[in-house]
Subunit: 203 residues, 4 copies
DNA sequence: CATGAATGAGAGTTCATTCAT
DNA sequence: GATGAATGAACTCTCATTCAT
């Protein structure tokens, strides 16, 4: 392993260090609430150093969103192996929620955090997100085609299921479950997932 | 009515003036985008004046959260008049979503923004929220009691319905509907609400 | 004298304080070399205070240029009283140079300092400068009309005289007379002025 | 020619490379607008490399001033060939102005920029400048000796001519010709030069 | 010889906040 | 009760400069 590759690795490590700190902070205080200084302090470097790795604040944000989208994809995509569309759909849902529970910061970044206005329509991240979403909709479509539902309104079915899953995860991620005792929350989520699956069966 | 009470009234009016302006601005520019100065300019007072009514920016924030809870209650609570529990439940859902759509910032404040839990005002706000939530759960319970559902798991039913509604509104409020064309978004929301109602009927 | 007028006066004093410090600094280090912080330090106020009196750095600069233009006008304009155009012209030149010698900072600001790019075509300052310049050209024209010169090329005559005067003052203001012993410099300038007057007589 | 001298040569080449880039950039963006980074990028080296050749930014500045003095000398000095002193004087003036027009930044550096007087390089530069100036004065003296003027005050004649030329170039370099339409400016300068020559003839 | 990495200092600017009036 | 004046602290970002490699 040569010098070059070591340097590359170190550079990559530094970028990860920055992203890690940024992620934590963005989650806690929102995009606007976080300053480059905050990030720098968190990793114990000078603010100027950050600029050696990322052009500006929004680039850090986008890098993070891309990472998050990639992690999400990797977490969910194994379901492509499942042939039966209904089972694939259920497993997709389970994994979607599981991703949110295991990586609340990433989920937050992808689906909750208010993004800086330069919308990212043409960003890699957006493509990645769209791809996963499309796969989800196609799976619903496959279920529709295979007559798993009475309804044939693929779009609305997909959207409705997404609403439920997103709502469920969001309430966790943004700590709106305080009226339920800590130890019952996860169980409730599991039950609710089972219930929406049941409900979907009769769609 | 004495001098004291008039002064109190005037003080209250001023507080309302501030909150009103703050709300409008938060809606336009987001919480972080608004400064005390902005609020002061909007009501044509000096920044220092604000401090005569609110200790600091965060206190305005908490006052707003309380306001939001009140607005939400007023928006939803007319449904207490509906005697039939199923109809009451459906109307509750409709109004909950309607509130979120009409007051995205208030909804945001109540259900999405990460908040510190200190503050007195915040406790008032919390009580108010709990009350509305309880009423919702009781309505579900009434439906269960009246055998509107096969399932009798009130808690899970209520939670599941909330997840859907919250997911639906959140996706709007935090602008995660970009993959759907602007003009179709509301229709989709309406269809989804109809669908979850249908699904609930067969619970 | 009421409170209002006292406040106004204090405000005006503060503006003068800022302008005074700024003038000195701009001269020494050029527009780009001076920071708002520098100015603030010079007058022992905080940087933020400056912004209570001037919107930004360029506004200070423009205010200063305007002041300079006004002082220059007041210094020179008494010559309007002189009826004989030739005498008026000579006196104009003498006073122009005198202004430069007595107020090197102001002269610098008006004719040497590189200005921030937002050109000031429509600024009051520009108008003022143009007015004085026009008066100068008109005086030359009057001399031409009265056959004081053989040449009738008013524009070139005016410009040539200006070049000399500006060159003379600039060499002083920007300290390029070092090859002449300190004590002889002013005499040299006086002689040169006399010489250009002589030369003009034979134009 | 040994290794040492080759290395010296290469070092000199590098210094020239840096100065060349610096000059180009100074011309485009002004002294303050140029950073070491900019220079480094322009020559495709790292910023740190610059420091192997110049201690700091100001040293580049002084080196440039010296360069400027050399370029000026090379631009003007061919006139030594002209035997007739009057023709030599006129051509000197023409070339002086021409140098200023063609290299406004160099001219600026030499005759307008406020400079600290420390630095060795600067002394070299100063000697060079003095030499050219002396040559100019000697040429005027030659004209006086050859009775080209009625006046015999060599010093004042030289200074007066210099004032005109310097004034003319300065007004260009520091952009004080805005009241004349862009396309007429050069013509005006040419006419003014012709006029001062005429005026000198009758001195 | 050349450089990548790092930083302290500083730029312009805005903000929440205080306090004397 | 209201405010004008003031400021310390913070912001994003760039720069000149150093140093280990």
């Amino acid at each position: 392993m040569g010098i070059v590759s070591r340097k590359e690795r170190e550079k990559e490590e530094m970028r990860q260090l920055i992203l890690g700190a940024a992620l934590k902070l963005f989650r806690e205080k929102g995009y606007d609430g976080v300053s480059i200084r905050n990030i720098a302090e968190a990793i114990e470097y000078s603010p100027a150093t950050i600029y050696l790795y990322y052009k500006d604040k929004s680039e850090i944000f986008f890098a993070l969103q891309y990472e998050a989208a990639a992690v999400k994809r990797d977490h969910i995509m194994p379901v492509v192996e499942i042939e039966n569309p209904w089972e694939r759909l259920v497993e997709f849902g389970r994994r979607y929620i599981d991703f949110g529970m295991k990586h609340p910061d990433l989920y937050d970044l992808l689906f909750i955090t208010l993004t800086p206005m330069e919308s990212m329509e043409n960003q890699e991240c957006w493509k990645l997100g769209i791809a996963t979403h499309s796969f989800f909709v196609e799976t619903v479509q496959a279920c529709v085609d295979a007559r798993y539902f009475k309804s044939t309104d693929t779009e609305t079915i997909a959207y409705t299921l997404w609403c439920h899953a997103h709502g469920l995860v969001s309430l966790f991620v943004r700590e709106r479950m305080r009226m339920y005792p800590e130890e019952k929350r996860e169980e409730l989520a599991r039950k609710s997932f089972a219930m929406i699956v049941k409900m979907a069966e009769n769609l």
